[in-house]
């Protein structure tokens, strides 16, 4: 197990290097200048700005600097918000996104698995159809539409929730629901589909034949196996959700991390692009690692092995 994790960590380092390299070249090749301004700048000022951020160096020096700084975890000052350190921006906004993301994940997983299980148990009966329709609505309503509708009717018209902002738990409910709707629907569908497979499998039939009661079969045997694809999906989902959503943050004015991923790119704010990308990559890679480890807990048939091919 430990040697497996060590191996994985090496792979993660290689992956990080690839990600930083790709991002560096992509952002330097992209047209647009971080210091482009509506009022034309005198050349002396443009040069001085470039010098401040090391943009006057040849590309290989810049590349080397980015690698070293990324390794040190120091991404420098934002090029747009010149009084802000990239690290501070991430450190302040990530906890907000994480809180919201975990809430959304909780809603998505709890209700998704529940809905999916109910649908599978009543396969082709009305609860199944009802759940299917719910799931379809969840998947097919874009999150910005969902968010707007929730905000307009529940917050503004009915006054049940605050409209926007981030000042307490009540403020997080609507955005969490809006954020959770698509993953919840997807988890429900995935659970339903694999539950159906499991309930038709030999060991469940055997268990039935042995006279084990239905709830025991469902919860003790079938659900556990059925959740494997769901857990797979959770890794990238978690990484995506806890690092924030541009659209939801915008509609609910939440000071989260998600907007930085988009605005840093549209602003060509190189330092923030690199900082957020590396941060996201670390979270994603760790989430995938954790999920792979979780596999072995949930499904005893899968063993983690380092290196050796089992073909």
């Amino acid at each position: 197990m430990i040697s497996y994790i060590a191996k994985r960590l090496v792979y993660i380092l290689i992956a990080m290097w690839l990600i930083i390299t790709a991002t560096f070249f992509l952002m330097r090749l992209a047209p647009g200048n971080p210091f482009a301004s509506e009022r034309a700048l005198p050349p002396a000022i443009q040069e001085s700005l470039n010098a401040q951020y090391g943009l006057d160096n040849p590309w290989y020096v810049q590349y080397k600097d980015y690698l070293i700084n990324s390794a040190k975890g120091d991404f420098g000052t934002s090029m747009k918000y010149k009084y802000r350190e990239t690290n501070d921006m991430i450190a302040e906004s990530f906890p907000v996104s994480m809180t919201l993301g975990l809430e959304a994940m909780f809603i998505a997983v709890a209700f998704g698995v529940l809905i999916g299980t109910i649908a599978a148990l009543f396969h082709n009966k009305w609860p199944d159809y009802l759940m299917t329709i719910l799931a379809v609505l969840g998947i097919s309503i874009p999150s910005f539409v969902m968010a707007t509708i929730l905000q307009y009717y529940l917050a503004l018209q009915l006054n049940l929730f605050p409209i926007a902002g981030w000042k307490g738990f009540a403020y997080s409910i609507l955005p969490a629901v809006a954020l959770a709707s698509t993953p919840m629907a997807f988890i429900a569908k995935l659970t339903r589909s694999s539950m159906l497979e499991e309930t038709n499998s030999e060991y469940v039939k055997m268990a039935k034949a042995k006279g084990i009661s239905k709830p025991v079969i469902v919860f003790k045997h079938a659900l556990r196996n059925a959740l494997l694809p769901v857990v797979t999906y959770l890794a990238p989902l978690t990484a995506g959700v806890v690092t924030g959503s541009f659209v939801i943050e915008k509609i609910f004015s939440i000071p989260g991390l998600g907007k930085h991923f988009v605005t840093s790119i549209t602003n060509r704010d190189y330092t923030v692009i690199m900082g957020t990308t590396v941060f996201y990559a670390v979270i994603l890679l760790l989430a995938v690692l954790i999920v792979d480890i979780l596999y072995s807990f949930i499904d005893p048939r899968i063993q983690l092995r380092g290196g050796k091919s089992n073909d």
Binding site: P31, G32, N33, P34, A36, S37, E38, R39, A40, L41, P42, A44, I45, E47, S48, L49, Q52, K80, Y81, K82, Y83, R84, D88, M89, E92, S93, P95, V96, M98, T99, L102, E103, M105, F106, V109, Q151, Y152, A155, L156, N159, I163, A164, W166, G168, F169, Y171, S172, K220, L223, L227, E249, K250, I251, S253, P255, G256, K259, T266, N267, I298
Partner: protein
């Protein structure tokens, strides 16, 4: 299954732990002496890009800086210069030397405001090392441009400290609008003593070293969340400041800000704070709450005169005429803007009446001009004319450009395609001349026509049209040295006429300030520059 339970438990405890990250806290709503606090709630779209007066370039930063700082003069609610840090000013005969006597004012930490603070701030802004975008605002001062370009030295800049309370400023030319300029944020002082000790003072706006001399203190800054201003008890004119506290939340989406306003959580919508969602304008007009005032800004389409097709004056004229400006304003922009008739907005002295350089939406005249242009270009039919109309991505621009596109295609029969790109890319395209026709907007920093006319004085800089005209440049040079106001205005009018006879630009409309406010809010209106001075705002219960 147990393990799964543990997993869920972990998730739940994670949420509980993370819930500690919710901000907020109990704010008391009374002042020390028990009176009800006068609070104003407004919102801006994002973090202000700058908290340093010299580094600011936008109205959002400007609104906050004008609350925390004060220049030699200050603008009143109408946008006219009035008393600020200077108690007295003497102007020399030739209009080039200003001698200011500072009043006994204090920084918010108790330090006196001294002449050195101005000298320090202005030279800091001009230092090319500091790369201040708006340093050019100080170019009216002798030696400023040279220093900023790296050709001169700081010692040659015409700012002289006579003594702690006396400042002498020497200008290149007589500048009738210099009193307005000294109220502009690039001209604000900074506490030189603190700034020398801690050059990064502005990087922590709610920190101890961030001190101002304006009517409000910047108490709290939480990125992307809120800014809190509170009344500055050290401010010289504090008796005339009504508000105790200003809560500025950051709301990126206009639709969300609108809902907060409708729910009563915001007191004001409009520049320089969150603007009113376009979809709500009709409603506010119907219930009569919409305030409209003219703003010193021009929305236009610029033509690349170096382009093969748009190098032709008649084509440019045809395109300019064939825009239904009133239709656009009534149906698309909806802000009661004035149809663009020239470069200089109607807020400027001497330019109050719309000029008649061309007749908007006169399709016959447009067709005639087009016909002439086509012949000159050797083209047979309008359908052979392919024009790309560029704009930077935004829903509002997209709507306007699609309206213009439809007009040109339908009325002139030419083939118009739209091309949008991100702001940063768009600016590069314009500067490199890689466009045919493009959207452009200019909002004045101070209320003088020169602000606009100067753009087209020479090629490059903010002039992306490639258009230059010797006579035009000469007229502007005369404007710079002319001391007689009427003659100066006439020169500027003549210059605009030259510009508008060759159509390097097609004005679309003159901006308006649109705002709505709750009934309790008094004296809150944007001036022609789009500024709101929080100093004068009051809230009545």
């Amino acid at each position: 299954m147990k393990k799964l339970g543990t997993l869920l438990l972990l998730l739940v405890s994670g949420i509980v732990l993370a819930a500690c990250n919710f901000g907020g806290g109990g704010d008391s709503d009374t002042t020390e002496d028990g009176e009800a606090m006068k609070e104003l709630n407004v919102s801006i779209t994002s973090d202000p890009p700058a908290f340093h007066p010299a580094l600011a370039t936008d109205t959002t930063s400007g609104a906050i800086l004008a609350s925390a700082f004060e220049g030699l003069t200050r603008l009143d609610a109408k946008g006219e210069p009035t008393e600020g840090m200077a108690e007295k000013v003497e102007v020399s005969e030739d209009g080039k030397t200003y001698t200011y006597t500072l009043r006994d004012a204090k920084w918010s930490n108790g330090d006196p405001v001294i002449a050195q603070d101005f000298e320090f701030a202005w030279k800091w802004a001009l230092d090319p090392e500091n790369a201040a975008d708006y340093a050019y605002q100080l170019y009216y001062i002798v030696g400023a441009e040279e220093y900023n370009n790296g050709e001169g030295s700081a010692d040659d800049v015409g700012v002289k400290v006579i003594d702690e309370k006396t400042l002498e400023v020497t200008l290149v030319n007589p500048t009738p609008f210099f009193d307005e300029l000294t109220a502009f944020y690039t001209y604000f002082p900074v506490n030189s003593k603190l700034a020398e000790e801690n050059p990064d003072w502005y990087k922590d706006p709610s920190g101890e070293d961030f001190v101002g001399n304006g009517p409000f203190n910047l108490d709290e800054f939480a990125s992307a969340d809120h800014i809190t201003l509170s009344k500055n008890d050290n401010y010289w004119d504090k008796d005339n400041v009504a508000l105790d506290k200003v809560n500025i939340s950051m709301i990126e989406s206009e639709a969300t800000a609108l809902k907060e306003y409708q729910a009563g959580n915001l007191d004001y919508l409009g520049a320089p704070f969150n603007s009113i969602d376009l979809n709500a304008l009709d409603g506010f007009k119907e219930d009569g709450t919409l305030n409209v005032s003219d703003q010193a800004g021009t929305y236009m389409i610029v033509f690349n005169t170096k382009d093969e097709i748009l190098g032709n004056k008649n084509i440019r004229e045809a395109l300019t005429i064939a825009i239904d400006r009133q239709g656009l304003i009534d149906n698309v922009t909806k802000g009661e803007q004035k149809p663009g008739s020239g470069l200089v907005p109607l807020t400027m002295t001497g330019f109050e009446e719309p000029a008649d350089y061309f007749k908007s939406n006169d399709i016959e005249a447009a067709k005639a001009a087009l016909e002439k242009g086509l012949t000159e270009l050797g083209l047979d039919s309008p359908a052979d004319l392919k024009i790309k109309l560029s704009y930077n991505t935004s829903e509002a621009h997209a709507a306007i450009m699609q309206f213009v596109q439809q007009g040109w295609s339908k009325n002139l029969g030419i083939d118009v395609s739209l091309d949008n790109s991100e702001w940063q890319v768009y600016l590069e395209q314009l500067d490199a001349g890689e466009y045919q026709a493009g959207r452009y907007g200019w909002v004045g920093d101070f209320n003088d026509p020169i602000n606009f006319l100067e753009i087209y004085k020479r090629d490059g800089g903010n002039n992306q049209t490639g258009w230059t005209n010797e006579e035009y440049t000469n007229l502007l040079n005369q404007v710079a040295t002319e001391t007689d106001e009427a003659a100066r205005t006439q020169y500027m009018k003549d210059a605009e006429e030259i510009l508008m006879s060759e159509f390097p630009i097609s004005p679309i409309y003159f901006y308006t300030n649109l705002s709505v406010k709750q009934d309790s809010v008094k004296n809150m209106e944007a001036d022609p520059m789009g500024n709101v001075q929080l100093k004068y705002v009051d809230v009545e219960e």
